[in-house]
Amino acid sequence: MSNKRIRIDRFYQFMTYSAASIAVIILSMIIIFVISNGSGLLNFGLVVNDYHAKFYNGGIDNNITFSQTERPESLTSEIYYSEKWGIGLIEEENREGNTIISVEYIDIDSPLRNMRDKNNDNNSLSLSEGSIVSSIKFYDKNSALTIHGAEHMINELDTSDDFREIVYSSLGGGVRGSIITTLYIIGLTLLIALPIGIFTAIYINEFAKKNRVTSLIRSMIEVLTGVPSIIFGLMGLAVFVPLTVKYTQADSANLLSGSLTLAVILLPIIIRSTEESLKVVPDDFRTASLALGANHTQTTFKVVLPSALPGIMTATLLAIGRIIGESAALIFAIGTAIKDDISIFGKSTTLSVHIWSLMTDEPANIELASTIAIIILIIVLVLNLIVKLIAKRFTKNFG
């Protein structure tokens, strides 16, 4: 008998251990996959750069004085350098995996530091390090293009005193816009969903009589939790997009309609978890408060709600996680246009949808997608810490 008991014990222990290890292994596999794929592209520039490269057309005035500047010793051998123009070019791969020629070094006296903007005569342009040169067009010979290579470009420059225009651009592919959109969406959505959700939960748990109507409301909220988000996305497209277009300056799917859609998705989650945390507030607090001559509203907002705050903070965290992770609904409700100038009434895209649009490109850019995934992980981590800190401050006296 006792042998059998030991065997059964071992079996159950084995089950719990193995289940826990499977969970840990899966989680670490995801993180390792994302980091190993994406860490190569992760740098500060990615976070602050625009997604769309800005193109410039620079021209030069005819009377240039060339001051031969010697090649600085710090330049490595892959860099092609022109003493005449004081510029060092290098061939690189950009975030999309294409070959580009970028400016690695430019001398302070280089004539390329002072060019005429061919698109705007009143403006002057200065080529700077990090810019990407896509072509140099000459008057008397063929243009030097990216496909000819950096060496060719330097040789062509060295053999001429003049050129018609140099076309260069900033390095694109950054995710600054998507990060800002994500933060905007988190803020806006919480601003809409948290008050409504919390007050609904308070109504259901503290004020509503326990009857058929409230239990119907409750089960409807439960059903809403299970509805796939893409259906909410359709609703966003059908309801919130026209609504925001009609009443705001927006002219198509926009950040506000996305936030409203997400708020609807979050409402059941926030209501449910707030309700759970209100339920675990001991009735002792309520009776004590009422016995002191407080009325129902005072009891609810001065005693019950503060006691439920840690639970509500957890609900907020869950909500933030859901906002960052949501892509299906947002594809409809904000659109997939990756933007650099973010406005609440304009189209733009969150990091998750950014990943989606990178992966639907042909070929899919898994590396950049993984890098964005790392950024998302970092944002989630930071927001987690912030919310926990706030919760700690609020609940100093609790517990």
Binding site: L290, A291, L292, K302, V303
Partner: protein
């Protein structure tokens, strides 16, 4: 001032179909300690909760009869329950301070009545803590969490919280049943002090406690008030056989 605080006439109480109290008639005198004794489930706590209408919170609870507080029936429709509860404070079986600071716990009641002046609140807090014999122990951590106090201190904090409302009556529902003997002794001493200024009605399971601290004792059995007399008489020459059986420990 009238000498009788509560006059209860023919009070019946029902939880849905179940009748918990049967035709209670009772008078409670000012500045006396009245102990309610009886076996578990005899209706003494239910009766206590009728006095500040805390039974209103229980669904399906019906009451007939009169409970007159200072000559006014508290179950009249026009009666202000909030006002009643500020005049009739309550201390519960389990110490139940709010998860706030000691100061906020005591200031809670006055604040709910709209007192915002910090000086007035400071004064109320200090007075109440002193009256509840807690001030010396907590004066250096008055802004600290009430949850860090010991059980006995928490219960005295709850008494201080009730006193802060300046009630006429304090109802106590087995206030020492969750406490150790030393904390119990302190609460009993406190009750002795408080009866000079307040009317106290206390539910207790300990007959020794009732004998020690009360002036009047009422014995309840199965929802019926069997006997109500001075404590001395109840414990030395009970009129009713059931009372005698109970206090001599033959049942219950």
């Amino acid at each position: 001032m009238e000498n009788t605080v509560f006059t209860i006439n023919n009070l019946n109480l029902y939880y849905d179909q179940f009748q918990a109290l049967y035709g209670i008639d009772m008078k409670i005198k000012r500045n006396e300690v009245t102990a309610l004794i009886g076996p578990s489930g005899c209706g003494k706590s239910t009766f206590l909760r009728c006095l500040n209408r805390m039974n209103d919170l229980i669904e399906g609870c019906n009451i007939t009869g009169e409970v007159k507080f200072n000559e006014k029936d508290v179950y009249m429709n026009s009666y202000d329950v909030i006002n009643l509860r500020t005049k009739v404070g309550m201390v519960f079986q389990k110490p139940n301070p709010f998860p706030m600071s000691i100061y906020d716990n005591i200031a809670y009641g006055p604040r709910c009545q709209g007192i915002k002046d910090k000086k007035v609140l400071d004064d109320i807090v200090k007075k109440s803590l002193t009256k509840a014999a807690l001030y010396d122990e907590v004066q250096d951590r008055i802004k600290g969490s009430a949850m860090s106090l010991s059980g006995g201190q928490q219960q005295r904090l709850c008494i201080a919280r009730a006193i802060a409302m300046e009630p006429e009556v304090i109802l106590m529902d087995e206030p020492t049943s969750a406490l150790d003997p030393i904390a119990t002794l302190k609460i009993e001493e406190l009750i002795n002090d408080l009866k000079k200024n307040y009317t106290i009605i206390i539910v207790t399971h300990s007959m020794q406690q009732a004998a020690r601290i009360s002036d009047k004792t009422a014995f309840f059995l199965m929802g019926v008030l069997i006997e109500n007399d001075s404590t001395n008489k109840i414990f030395t020459q009970p009129k009713n056989k059931k009372t005698e059986d109970y206090i001599t420990g033959r049942f219950g």
